[in-house]
Subunit: 218 residues, 2 copies
Amino acid sequence: MNIGILGTGMVGQTIGTKLVELGHPVSLGSRSATNQKAEEWVKKAGSSASHGTFADAAHFGEIVFNCTNGLGALDAMRMAKSDNLAGKTVIDVSNPLDFSHGFPPTLSVCNTDSLGEQIQREFPRAKVVKTLNTVSCQLMVNPSLVPGVHDLFLSGNDQDAKETVRTIVTDWFGWKSVIDLGDISTARGTEQLLPIWIRLMGLWKSPQFNFHIVRAAS
Amino acid sequence: MNIGILGTGMVGQTIGTKLVELGHPVSLGSRSATNQKAEEWVKKAGSSASHGTFADAAHFGEIVFNCTNGLGALDAMRMAKSDNLAGKTVIDVSNPLDFSHGFPPTLSVCNTDSLGEQIQREFPRAKVVKTLNTVSCQLMVNPSLVPGVHDLFLSGNDQDAKETVRTIVTDWFGWKSVIDLGDISTARGTEQLLPIWIRLMGLWKSPQFNFHIVRAAS
């Protein structure tokens, strides 16, 4: 399946490499069609990898991942163009982290809104599913890096799109426990996991951990 | 050890009952010295239970639990009086949940500040430790209600106070895994767990679950 990825940073490259390894043609999109990081990634990733502008990648993908920096996500998607996202499952992996005031970062949107909701509101024809934003990029595509049971969360308004994403994260990426939290407004909950996530990473000097929700027998 | 508890709701009563069972004299404090809920609790809880105003309970306690409704926490502590909290470990269990705009509730403070920090700033002579705010009141004093390993978080500026609280939650309440996140500003992280906690409770129709952070072997 053709996949478009918005963003050429570590997250976009890691997901892109995994998808190419799985046999999917991937286009990595960035602000400029001649992005050097994207060119270097294409050379390493192999013949089914390509790159272009945000609009090129979004047009190419039957499914589109948003792996941009959260503060630039809406701008990137505007450059990707609404028509190129219409009717497609858009997997939003980004977090609205603002490091401009130092450490720890704050969230540029939270509590009464979320980046996931902002994206869904601005691109109503896209089927936005928020997921993978609560784990390191290595874990996203290789959850067994952390042993045992731990959870991935889904938020989105379109049930079919969520089922598509569930298949991608389980069958393609290897996730064993996926919790559908509900509509896209539940992205507030997962984006607000970042403040404690960042403190835990600082404490343990490693991003290789994840949340597991342990339940009493019902 | 004499314990003061601010708040006569389910959280205050549940913690108070557990502490009385463990043999500690407990004073439950409320806005009025003739609070009916507190009077009924005292009758059930036994001879080492008492009740009074917020100031009475804070004066009585060598350690003080803040179990008030988060939106009223600062007011309750003002009524408890700074002098009655000075030098004492104050265990802040409250969450700044605002249900006034319906469901889901929002947080009245978050992101760049937390209720834990607000309390510490306004009562600088108290040794505020935020903990227990991420689990149901039943779990607070009986963590084995949820099987297996799951975690409790501590946030606070005073290391000795955090060690006192660690002893209380492990030796008295039975917690097996306690993570010291750092200073009181890390309370932002645990208070911001509430939005996903509330969605999970809605999903599963039960508050008997908890977070466990699963780590890769280092």
